[in-house]
């Protein structure tokens, strides 16, 4: 199959979405440091190309499962920045009414079945969503985003087996960001994760996860295959977690170290947002146009923060109503 090249409009849209994720998270990083956010925040900075490239190939009705590092997937799939920000600020206007927080942003109306606090928690949910799509004879594709850490959970193997066996419309996207929380992946992972998918005869592509166009191209082929009923696909996208496992991790590390600064600096040279910016400039996009995009996104972020700050706190009794549908806790 010939590789599709993105149009100039598509290149710009990819850039704009990545920049939205980056700017939203830079603001979250600042607010986490300032102590404005009540819970843990796991940032996606450095990995934006993956969610952006994959979700740009999806339809609104397609379904995704995400990870504890889920802001990027939420925004890439079309989640509302204001509702996400308000959720992380624990406000009643949040997308989950303040009941989920950063690790659980979800918008079922947009096919975002949720970020997930359980590492590997999304595999079987996405597999089940793909099963439903097949049984209900619609053409929805399900995507499970997960990290190299999650690939060491046993349920990963179970879902590779079932999805391949039943030819489910599933795309598995491994964001290999090199770390399982505070442990380098190479210390705890045997072999190549992509080989695990290959063992189940699942078509597998390994891409540079910091190149949004490479991800977009790989996802385009994989989603097309899954949608046409040929079964699951696997993408392994190599990237790097620029931020810590979570913000304020220095408190936990207490002086301990699990990686070197020069390694982080080397990966900063491969920043996916800057690379896309360079690509656009090389393609003749004017710097003014890029600045206009940045300014526009700056306003979106400011509006989101303003909305969050000015919203009412969550309803403190809501949990009693929401344990069940139509039934008291």
């Amino acid at each position: 199959m010939p590789t599709t090249e993105p149009s100039r409009a598509e290149l710009l849209a990819l850039y704009e979405r990545m920049l939205l994720i980056r700017r939203m998270e830079e603001r979250l990083r600042a607010d986490a440091a300032a102590g404005n956010l009540p819970g843990a925040v796991h940032l996606y900075i450095g990995q934006e190309a993956i969610a952006t490239g994959v979700c740009a190939q999806l339809r609104a009705t397609d379904l995704i499962t995400s990870t504890h590092r889920g802001h990027g997937h939420f925004l890439a799939k079309g989640g509302d920045p204001k509702a996400m920000m308000a959720e992380i600020w624990a406000k009643r206007t949040g997308i989950c009414r303040g009941m989920g927080g950063s690790m659980h942003v979800a918008d079922f109306s947009k096919g975002i079945l949720g970020a997930n606090g359980i590492v590997g928690g999304g595999f079987a949910i996405a597999t089940g969503a793909a099963l439903a799509s097949k049984l209900l004879h619609d053409t929805r594709v399900a995507v499970a985003f997960f990290g190299d850490g999650a690939a060491n959970q046993g349920v990963f193997m179970e879902c590779l087996n079932v999805s391949s066996l039943w030819k489910l419309p599933l795309l598995l996207v491994c964001e290999h960001n090199q770390f399982s929380e505070f442990t380098p992946s190479q210390d705890i992972t045997s072999g190549d994760i992509a080989d695990r998918a290959r063992a189940f005869k699942i078509p597998t592509t390994v891409v540079d996860g910091n190149d949004v166009v490479a991800v977009w191209q790989a996802a385009g082929e994989a989603v097309g295959r899954a949608r046409s009923g040929e079964g699951p696909c696997f993408i392994q996208a190599h990237t790097y977690r620029i931020q810590g496992h979570l913000e304020a991790e220095d408190l936990f590390l207490a002086g301990g170290k699990y990686r070197e600064k020069h390694e982080i600096d080397a990966w900063r040279q491969r920043d996916p947002v800057e690379r896309q910016q360079q690509r656009l400039l090389a393609a003749g996009v004017r710097p003014d146009d890029l600045q206009a995009i940045d300014a526009r996104i700056g306003r979106v972020v400011e509006e989101a923060v303003k909305f969050a700050v000015e919203s009412e706190p969550a309803d403190s009794d809501l949990a009693l109503e929401l344990m069940f549908v139509g039934q008291k806790a």
Binding site: T127, A132, L135, Q327
Partner: protein
């Protein structure tokens, strides 16, 4: 009304609900051959799209239920033995029990999990647990404990139509027991206890598999001049506290019979509720008849000694009635 076996009642409920709603699917280990009896005939009637054998991978079976429900199916997962709930517990405890709350009410999880619990068949410890108290404690799942064929049919139909994750717990090895099952589209609402027998001297609250030995015990008590009332909560979540409190007020003497291990059993919870909300009406301490805090031994004689039987229930009920 017709007399039917317990397994037949479950089978009827599955067939009726799958016929009624094309979104209902059933999957699990060996459900096509119907190794447990209750899924017999579904494959011929509905085809492999809607009823399918799965690999032995409980972590995925429970997780898939969450995803399939989120994507529009009504999912029935057959877990075979309830001990396998432990193998699939992550998605139960961390996903299906919590997602409605965590998503601010967005996620609706029409999931029914069927599992067979309890001892008495020399299945040994890994196939004999009555693990439902752990489910009761989760918070976001309903727990149905049908003790009769009629309740098996009616509660299962309600579970499949409902919008909350529900555990449908069937007593192991008891599928052949007969009972009257109402004709037609028979459903039993959740959270409504049933009075299995009227009496004025002592109230026996019997959970699931314990209804049968409790009714036997009531007959023994009658011969000794004690009129026992027998109440079946039918669902542990939601729990019909009102009916249990009314029963406590009626006799003031309560025995709760439960096949779970004693510590933090369903019986413990019911005893606590009654101590809290009906203390003034109690004439004697609330007693629990449960399994000791052991796992089930294999040898039939050793197993029999652990599970409450009519004699043990009658003895403790007599003490309570005369206390």
């Amino acid at each position: 009304m017709a007399r039917k076996r317990y397994t037949h009642a479950i089978n009827e409920a599955l067939i009726e609900e799958m016929s009624r709603d094309p979104r209902v699917i059933v999957y699990g280990e060996d459900v096509e051959l119907a190794i447990m009896g209750d899924t017999r005939g579904l494959l011929d009637r509905f085809g492999r799209e809607r009823i399918r054998n799965t690999p032995i991978c409980e972590a995925t079976l429970t997780g898939m239920a969450v995803g399939a429900a989120a994507a529009g199916c009504r999912v029935v997962v057959h877990m075979m033995f309830s001990n396998f709930i432990y193998t699939g517990f992550d998605a139960i405890a961390n996903q299906m029990a919590k997602l409605h709350l965590m998503t601010g009410g967005q996620a609706v999880m029409p999931i029914t999990i069927i599992a067979a619990y309890g001892g008495g068949a020399s299945n040994a410890a890994q196939h004999s647990d009555s693990g439902y108290p752990a489910l009761v404690n989760l918070g976001g799942v309903n727990v149905a404990m049908p003790a009769t064929p009629a309740d098996a049919k009616g509660l299962l139909k309600s579970a499949i139509r409902g919008n909350n994750p529900t555990f449908f717990m069937e007593a192991i090895g008891r599928g052949g027991e007969m009972g009257e099952v109402p004709d037609g589209d028979y459903t039993v609402p959740f959270g409504k206890a049933a009075t299995a027998r009227e009496g004025r001297d002592v109230t026996l609250i019997a959970i699931g598999s314990m209804l049968k030995p409790t009714l036997e015990a009531a007959k023994k008590l009658e011969a000794a001049g004690i009129q026992a009332e027998v109440i079946d909560p039918r669902t542990l979540v939601p729990l019909d506290e009102e009916a249990l409190i009314a029963a406590a007020r009626k006799t003031g003497r309560i025995v709760v019979v439960d096949e779970a291990r004693d510590r933090c059993s369903a019986a413990s919870h019911i005893a606590a509720v009654l101590a809290d909300k009906a203390f003034g009406a109690l004439k004697a301490p609330v007693k629990r008849v449960t399994v000791p805090n052991v796992c089930m031994p294999y040898a039939p004689n050793a197993e029999k000694r652990m599970i409450p039987d009519a004699d043990r229930i009658a003895r403790i009920a007599t003490e309570t009635a005369r206390a």
